[in-house]
């Protein structure tokens, strides 16, 4: 399981970042970097991921095993100045 989740994380991160590089280069007016990789990751995974709403993506990402699923302190909300 750990090997699969690591493989999934490494590849999804790589191809989503590659896509982000293209988008950021276009936005900032820089030369667009080449898109490399298999059809599955570049033509299927990335577009499908981007079509999913954030509200759906987040629970899927959280379902992957890791430290984020262990017990961590809940953030205290700001309560204004001390005095």
């Amino acid at each position: 399981m750990a090997r699969f989740t690591t493989w999934l994380r490494v590849n999804s991160q790589h191809y989503l970042l590659q896509d982000a590089h293209v988008r950021m280069a276009r936005k900032c007016g820089y030369p667009t970097p080449p898109v490399r990789g298999s059809i599955f990751w570049t033509k299927i995974f990335v577009p499908v991921y981007r079509l999913m709403p954030w509200a759906l993506r987040r629970p899927i990402m959280r379902a992957i095993p890791g430290s984020h699923r262990k017990r961590w302190p809940i953030q205290m909300q700001p309560e204004g100045p001390a005095i």
Partner: protein, 448 residues
């Protein structure tokens, strides 16, 4: 009988753990095993000795070996731990045999990702890590004419800048389209790259390494890349930091999607009475929740304190991270916190953004430097979700401040109306953070 606490690893995390354990239980027997000759030095300072900003490696040592003897911490140098048995609560130490523990802290740090190309066994490939090795490499640098730095991550940036300072013809080879491509936005990276151009650093972006090329003596003579062959006398291999988790994995301790050991807020692992800290484990990012691995020495030391204290019976918690970061890159300082535009775009997170170019001091005061600030916020609530910075000074302090701002959920409105210090030698009339927040608010109002 004193409880027996064993720490594997003598870096920032390991020594933080040893100190944390002793603070909670001064009577505990604390033993640290390290494969290296030294502890208590700053490996992060090595590039700056190579670059001649720091005169000697001795300056990087923080404490001598006697200081640990005096503190009651038993450090076993040049000693390799071969295995861990979490059921029997023992470790096997080469040359010593079986060593029992009551509590164990794993702080084995990181290894550089294998470039995965032919020629990795050639002489002349420099993996920056150990100070004794760095001392030897520093002597060799005197005769190096041309060097390649593989990947422009944090260490690669510092090494490229250091080698250029030293007058060595330096080439950067990186598969990303700009410097620090996994973290940094192009409008921040452009300042660094402009300054590297001025310093003579030759950059090869979107370039993949195919092989290290050797001569007939087994020394590196160049690198073969997707953009052609680059001749060189030295290659600094500054690939990703991967968790050095083989020992823990062999013992059956669970890892997450980063390959780092899974821990909870007490830094406890999946094995009973075993804690972990530093680059060997993964920590959750508070925004988005995904775990991260390979953070800073500051993170490792703080995690070590928590892991060590808890291993001795304490009750401390570590917090999810936001990762304020910063470094000197070329002639600039760059930094940030949490998400940049590139990372937010990759994750597909919605955001509003605003940027501003300001100055670090009054415009008429000698030494005034440009400061570029970019802020990202959540649409609707306008709570800050990240920032990126570049400038000549004051970047670290702004990154630290913005780290707290993200953590406490400050909004663009809070930052747009912030008060700021004004004094000509140290601060300008307008704080660039406030101006960037005002610009972001204007963009949000237009629906950008």
């Amino acid at each position: 009988m004193a409880q027996r606490i064993v720490v594997i690893g003598g870096g920032g995390g390991g020594l933080g753990a040893a100190g944390g354990a002793k603070a909670v239980d001064p009577g505990a027997s604390v033993t640290v095993f390290t494969e290296f000759e030294d502890v208590a030095y700053s490996p992060c300072g090595i590039p700056f000795v190579h670059g001649k900003e720091i005169p000697s490696f001795e300056a990087l040592f923080l404490a001598d070996k006697q200081a640990y003897v005096d503190a009651g911490i038993d450090i076993r140098y040049n000693t390799r731990v071969a295995s861990i048995n979490t059921s029997a609560k023992t470790i096997e130490v080469e040359g010593t045999g079986t060593v029992p523990y009551d509590s164990l802290v794993i702080a084995t740090g990181f290894v550089y990702a294998d470039p995965g190309v032919p020629g990795a066994d050639l002489d002349g490939l420099y993996y920056v890590k150990n100070i004794r090795s760095a001392m030897e490499w520093d002597k060799r640098l005197d005769s190096v004419k041309k060097a390649v730095v593989l990947e422009a991550g944090p260490l690669g940036i510092e090494m490229a800048t250091a080698l250029a300072h030293r007058g060595i013809e330096t080439h950067i080879v990186d598969p990303n389209p700009w410097v620090l491509g996994e973290l940094c936005d192009p409008d921040i990276a452009e300042l660094v790259q402009e300054s590297w151009n001025e310093m003579g650093v030759q950059m090869h972006w979107n370039t993949k390494l195919n092989a290290f090329l050797g001569d007939d003596k087994g020394s590196v003579r160049g690198v073969d890349t997707s953009a052609g062959v680059i001749d060189c006398d030295l290659v600094v291999v500054a690939t990703h930091k991967e968790p050095n988790s083989a020992l823990a994995v062999a013992a059956g301790i669970k890892t997450g999607s980063t390959g780092g050991l899974i821990v909870d807020s007490s830094m406890h692992t999946s094995a009973p009475q075993v804690w972990a800290c530093g680059d060997v484990c993964e920590l959750p990012h508070q925004l988005g929740g995904l775990p991260l691995q390979g953070l800073t020495g500051s993170h490792a030391y703080a995690q070590g304190k928590v892991a060590g204290a808890n291993s001795a019976g304490g009750n401390r918690e570590y917090q999810p991270v936001y990762v304020p970061w910063g470094m000197v890159a070329g002639k600039w300082m760059i930094g940030g916190v949490a998400l940049g535009e590139t990372a937010a775009t990759a994750l597909g997170m919605p955001y509003v953004v605003g940027a501003a170019d300001g100055i670090s001091r009054a415009r008429y005061y000698p030494g005034v430097k440009k400061v570029r600030v970019k802020l990202l916020a959540e649409p609707g609530s306008l709570r800050l979700i990240g920032a990126q910075l570049a400038g000549g000074e004051g970047i670290k302090e702004r990154a630290d401040f913005l780290g707290v701002a993200v953590k406490k959920g400050l909004t663009l409105r809070d930052l747009a109306t912030m008060e700021n210090v004004y004094s000509p030698p140290i601060g300008a009339l307008n704080e660039p953070i406030a101006v960037a927040a005002q610009n972001a608010l204007a963009a949000a109002a237009k629906g950008k």
